[in-house]
Symmetry: C2
């Protein structure tokens, strides 16, 4: 099925398709999974059973869910990707601007919110840690997009651009037209394009060769915003992004 290079393990693809489906459906039974993946019930049964036996799926009330063990397997990754000194920079940024600060990392075609700092413990979060974010509909995503090599950037525009809110830009040309400005200013903006009423500013984090490793962003709800602060926030953001660049390249 699909294209088989002969140097691929198809069963592994199937098992991860199961895990991804369980995540997407937020818990599911055998039949539901088989239907969703368009596979035989018997076959999916074996995968689910194996994954459960390995401790990566747990059954409760007849539905299988992702286990804490799966999370635990990957839990060291963000700690290693974001050293303490980088966390501190984000912490300080959140404190200075008084809004939520987020560190987003780019990896194989997507950005992932890796570290989030709220200025107070009561502040609400725009997204969860570990959440995968669209490149075209967030400030951080666009900051990364603007600095990607042509080939990699174009790959993003080949698929459909998902809609998240009324303000989401779904036309490739519209998005592309904003990228030149972002490159010049090292600053991207998002006005409720991913979550309604949440405004973001973000600056890219580039490595030595100019390749975008991610972005730092500041988010606030529209009500909180005074346009007067905007310039201050922007300059704090850009300097934070440069500090992170230095911290990451040692």
């Amino acid at each position: 099925m699909a294209r088989s290079d002969g140097k691929e393990i198809k069963a592994t693809r199937t098992s991860f398709a199961v895990l991804e489906a369980v995540a997407e459906l937020d818990g599911a039974g055998i039949s539901e999974l088989a239907r969703h993946l368009d596979r035989s019930k018997g076959g999916i049964y074996k995968h689910v059973h194996t994954l459960a036996d390995l401790g990566y799926l747990v059954e409760r009330d007849g539905a299988y869910r992702l286990s804490l063990g799966l999370w635990s397997l990957g839990a060291t990754v963000p700690k290693r990707a974001v050293p303490d000194r980088v966390e501190s920079i984000v912490d300080n940024l959140a404190a200075s601007v008084g809004h939520v600060a987020t560190l987003v990392l780019y990896e194989s075609g997507r950005t992932i919110a890796t570290y989030i700092r709220r200025p107070t413990s009561t502040a609400s979060q725009p997204f969860r840690e570990g959440e995968s974010l669209p490149l075209h509909a967030t400030a951080s995503g666009k900051a990364v997009l603007a600095f990607l090599p042509d080939e990699e950037r174009n790959a993003v525009f080949e698929g459909e651009l998902d809609t998240y809110t009324d303000a989401t830009l779904t036309d490739p040309e519209t998005v592309k037209s904003t990228l030149e400005t972002i490159r010049q200013q090292r600053l991207a903006r998002d006005d409720g394009e991913y979550r309604t009423d949440i405004e973001c500013l973000a600056a890219p984090i580039l490595d030595d060769s100019g390749y975008p490793r991610g972005a730092v962003g500041v988010s606030r709800s529209r009500e909180e915003s005074g346009d007067d602060e905007l310039d201050t926030d922007a300059s704090l953001l850009v300097s934070a992004s440069k500090s992170i660049e230095n911290a990451l390249t040692e």
Copy 2:
């Protein structure tokens, strides 16, 4: 190889063995993995390639590491397992006792540190979120162990009990002898048995049927400790564990 029930996907077992080995070795190449898992290089090559193509392994400087994508896949799990109201209870506990408070959950034979709260942002952590902890060498682990059904508890003692510090109890009978007291007091203690110079107290979290879902714990370095606080901490801990029990059973 191994025992095959016929209703198991062996390729999936192999792929996860690869992921676990990568985690354990903290980055590895094909040959090293093949050697470590005692498998053919050609076969491991296919698994690694598939996992990398799926975006769950990333290559850097010739070594494969777990990706942010793998973490992202499981990142929703702890949020779902620990509702906000439970987080608050742990937050308050940390604030009242002035030490690090930890929520540990039990799942398929192991405990996992799911939520950690430091009283101040400078306090050092005894372990990382997502870390899998031994049942016999931590206060939280012993709190769980004491309330496990006989069969499940005995399974723990069948394997070797790993040593972590000079103080780790590795004799099954010694550990077992402490469990009765823990059951009576609803309180377990660990004195540098997992990390040197770190002292912990923990109370179990039980569901309606008395089955241990996890434990709450308080950790402090030995220097910080005054024995006078101990009784106060213990009672705060026990009442926190009861609040969490209520919060989890709705």
